[in-house]
Amino acid sequence: MLSLCAVLALASMLTPLLVLYGVRVGLVETLRATLLHDPAALIIIPAGSGGSGFTNELFEKLRRRPDVRFVTARTRDVAAEMQFAAKDGSYVPLTLEPTGPGDPLLERFGQPLPPVAPEAAADAPEDAVLSSSAARKLSAARGDILRGRLGRRRPDGALETAVFTIRVAGVLPPEAIPSDTAFLPLPVLENIQDYRDYIAVPRRSWDGDPATGIKRHYESFRLYARDLDSVETLDDHLRGLRISVITKAKNIADIRMIDSSLTRLLMIIALAVGAGFVAFTLSSSLAAVRRKDKMLGMLRLLGFSRPALLCYPLCQALLTCAGGTFAAWLLACGVAVSIDSLFAAQLAGGAICVIRPEHFLAALAAGLALSLGATLYPAVRAAGIEPALVIRDV
């Protein structure tokens, strides 16, 4: 009976600790997972304008880095917008965003651009992926052909318009990007930029001044890091190149801080619980040895050796600890399930309290080590009992 009480007392100490630990693991992992599944968390874009501009050499170098998942140059603002005709004849301005093979934003939502056909006709529609709001405003669906109106002012001041058509290759869900955006391959946007700059684009039979052959400079880029940790290394790397960037490193650092604060908090609570556990184990096994001193003396009289008697409190404490930890684990798992079902609506599949078998094993190992330490003195007392002093009134 007393042993069962000890097991339950132990479980009552350990359960809140396990639950708390589970919350820490669950919370941090859920936050990390949310960030990881959100390509926006891994995005790195330059702050402000590019100054002297970014060249293709820079992008090639960046692409070779293992911590870079994807990078595309962005054309200048002159190629950042175009109007497209909706079904009702009105025109909707869309932001144009360059993309390329392996763009995580499009891949994440399963809407990658089909590869560009090399021998396409000059006036063949270009494949584009639309944001949800752009598709809604244009009443466009996958496979639709949309007419765009590309205007420019000629050097002589006259306005002119070129026809530019796109085929909707995919529509992103609303959570991907909030703005009215069309994603097009970078070379297409370069054509548009050239058209607006009155540079000839022979492929599309757009006239203008001949291309100068000067290396193209870009004002911006869109880069995705391989993972959360790469965001920080890339941030450092780019700052080293005197490119100041905007990242979600702050959010990531916030999660790290939550993680480390919770860990520290947990350590302090664990220390308090550990101290209580040691005091509890020490006092209960000392009491057990005192209570049973006559029996222990009797065993000694019968010829039990000191090591055998030493084992008695040790085994009892270790068994109590194992039982208590197991009971605490069962209880904590139950609590974890109810916590998660309580927050199920907000979590969308994530878990706020995660208790794994290895947490149980860690708690068990720590508990066993502590009980072993706490029971040494009572065990030595048990082994040192002198039968002649205790057996007389058994």
Partner: protein, 250 residues
């Protein structure tokens, strides 16, 4: 001689002071003796010294020879070889206390088999020995009971059974029948002495009841008590006058 003691003493400072001096005590194998003396004469102290659970303050000679080999118990105490002495108790000595001393969470059968289990010998022969002892003591029907459900008399028989079941060379008993009513006590005592004799074991019993032990045929070794000038109790065992005649060496 299974026990040979010469000038073994124990002092205690409590109260007015007490000392027990065993000048000479030689007990032959198979002998049955009763240590008697007035209350407070140190009968239990003497028994504990013989049982190797109480350290003598002085021991000129203390040999224990249950077989061919003699153990120098005086040397064991000097070296504090407590576990060596525990091992000797386990293999050679059975102990019966005034009351109980049974383990409450073990059944009668498990209590009877405890020593055999600790020795780690053949389980079947240990069980057979326990069963035959239980039969002789009339406790066979109690084998599956727990001590708390037994009467004092039954418990005492189980305690005797536990000492005898492992077939020890020596049985030490501390007033084994003191808690029983006199008629019952006589029965248990004679049964006990007869069983020990049957096993050819040596019996050393502490008793204040001279007639009871005489009845059972035990040789009496008296602890004589004198008072010193300061009031200290001086207890002495001197068995030099006795030349053992009936030895049962096999």
């Amino acid at each position: 001689m299974i026990f040979s003691l010469a000038n073994v003493s124990k002092y205690r400072a409590q109260g007015t002071g007490y000392s027990l001096a065993i000048r000479r005590l030689r007990i032959a194998r198979g002998e049955q003796i009763a240590l008697t003396g007035v209350s407070g004469s140190g009968k239990s102290t003497a028994l504990d010294i013989l049982g190797m659970v109480l350290m003598p303050d002085e021991a000129r000679g203390f040999l224990f020879a249950p077989g061919e080999k003699a153990f120098d118990i005086a040397a064991f105490w000097r070296k504090k070889s407590l576990d060596a002495m525990a091992g000797i108790r386990l293999r050679h000595i059975g102990y019966v206390l005034q009351t109980g001393g049974l383990l409450p969470y073990l059944t009668v059968a498990e209590n009877l088999g405890l020593t055999a289990r600790m020795r780690g010998g053949d389980k079947n022969s240990a069980a057979a020995s326990a069963a035959s002892v239980a039969e002789s003591l009339g406790i066979a029907r109690l084998l599956n009971s727990y001590p708390s459900t037994l009467s004092v008399g039954e418990r005492q028989r189980v305690a005797i059974g536990r000492a005898l079941a492992p077939q020890p060379d020596v049985v030490l008993a501390d007033e084994p029948t003191a808690a029983l009513d006199p008629i019952h006590a006589e029965n248990v005592m004679s049964l006990f002495a007869a069983l020990v004799k049957e096993m050819r074991a040596t019996l050393i019993m502490v008793s204040h009841d001279l007639s009871l032990v005489r009845e059972a045929g035990l040789r009496i070794v008296e602890i004589s008590v004198t008072s010193a000038e300061d009031g200290a109790v001086l207890a002495t065992i001197d068995d030099s006058g006795h030349a053992p005649c009936a030895t049962l060496q096999s």
